[in-house]
Amino acid sequence: MNNLRILPFFALGFLVACSVPGPGGAPDGMHDPHEASNRQVHEFNQNIDKRFFGGGKERAPAKPNAFRDGVQDNVTNFAGNFATPGYVVNQVMQGDLAGATRNTFRFAVNSTLGFAGLMDIASDIGVGEDETDFGETLHVWGAPEGAYQVLPIIGPSTERDTAGRVVDLFTNPLGYVLDKPEKYSGTVAKLVSRAGKRRQYGATVDSVLHDSADSYAQTRIIYLQNRRFELGQDAPGGGVDPYEELYGSDDVSQ
């Protein structure tokens, strides 16, 4: 019975068919065969950011505003709490029972003592957020990363993560137990939270997305390093040793 239930996920896993670089196909540890079309989508995303978030323009530093910042925290907490049952489902599929238990505890505490997730009480008592997604589940199941992709609006991804995002539209049990419109509250909160973060970290995002000499290459290397770090993998050129590369293996202090 349980096997039958997760069958659709397996089916999707096979549908992914992530492309794997051939020998010498990914010299920097980055597999990007669709670079030309990815660059077009990247440019589209940059324009969206310019138009809707004022990206790339001189901006005054965000002034501290306790009320606005507080609401922003509440919205972020709510979105995170809403997504937590989906994390649990993925952690069970990954065989990460400790993580699943921790997130179940977080969801129970924050949904009740934390006023439906507006406050993150669990973090205050030392049980911090532990996000995951179906892309990670695919990684645990042995699916390769696949080619680098840039998705419209959403931004950088890999073939494996894109498949994961599609499946994650269905992994949150709250999507099945709640009625309309409550079931959409998590998605709305997530969008609002993301917009808030775009403002909070405006200058940092600008520095990568608009000020960089090649924002496409910067975004790609930052995304892949960070994603592989999240998955506990070696980032491209992870343990880089400049002394070895620049001065050979001799001790230069001698």
Binding site: P61, D69, Q72, D73, T76, S123, G128, E129, E131, Q200, Y201, A203, T204, S207, D211, S212, A213, D214, A217, Q218, I221, I222, Q225, N226, R228, F229, E230, A235, P236, G237, G238, G239, V240, D241, P242, Y243, E244, E245, L246, Y247, D251, V252, S253, Q254
Partner: protein
């Protein structure tokens, strides 16, 4: 007999000392404690800047001082320049390294204003390849805590950090990509790129 024994012991100690001197210098003369001490005081200075509430330009100046004092700037700059460093003249390298230092200070110094009200805590030290990694955690308002690793080596002759990773994002690789792109834009002209770099960040 007694005398002889002492002589023998002296010879033994002398022999041992000579033997030690003949051994190749171990790659890791820096200790965990030494690496941690460096990052502790580095993080202490960063936390002071974050907590000071000074203006952005003052924070950037403060960060340039910190970077100069705690980082192996020539090595970081040379790595960021990549293969082109081999064909650069000594004067070009000096000029580039100086521009690079200012660029890093502006780029990362600006980030400090998003750190205001936060703090960094040093957690553990471990050895990777030929260097030490000092793992620390950044606590920012409304953010899940995240990991910052500082890579420390004494191969420059002093204990200095030569790389840092924020949630897996590696400064050396990221800056090599950026400097490479800036160089491409100038068709490989190091002097023109260095001039751009003085305005960037």
């Amino acid at each position: 007999m007694f005398h002889n024994e002492r002589m023998n012991r002296r010879n033994l100690i002398g022999g041992l000392a000579a033997g030690v001197m003949l051994l190749p210098v171990p790659a890791l003369s820096l200790t965990d404690a030494g690496a941690r001490r460096l990052v502790d005081s580095l993080v202490g200075e960063i936390n002071r800047v974050i907590g000071s509430g000074q203006s952005e330009s003052a924070m950037i100046r403060a960060f340039e001082r910190i970077f100069d004092r705690y980082a192996d700037v020539p090595t970081i700059a040379r790595y960021a320049l990549g293969v082109d460093a081999r064909s650069a003249s000594a004067a070009q390298m000096r000029s580039f390294t100086d521009a690079f230092k200012g660029y890093i200070a502006r780029k990362y110094g600006k980030r400090f204003r998003e750190f205001v009200g936060g703090r960094i805590e040093v957690e553990s030290v471990f050895v990777e390849k030929t260097y030490h990694v000092v793992r620390s955690t950044a606590f920012l308002r409304g953010e899940a805590p995240f990991i910052i690793d500082f890579m420390v080596s004494d191969r420059s002759g002093r204990d200095l950090f030569f790389n840092m990773k924020v949630e897996g994002v590696n400064m050396l690789l990221t800056e090599r990509t950026e400097i490479g792109a800036m160089l491409d834009r100038r068709r490989g002209d190091i002097d023109a790129m260095t001039a751009d770099l003085r305005r960037a960040g």
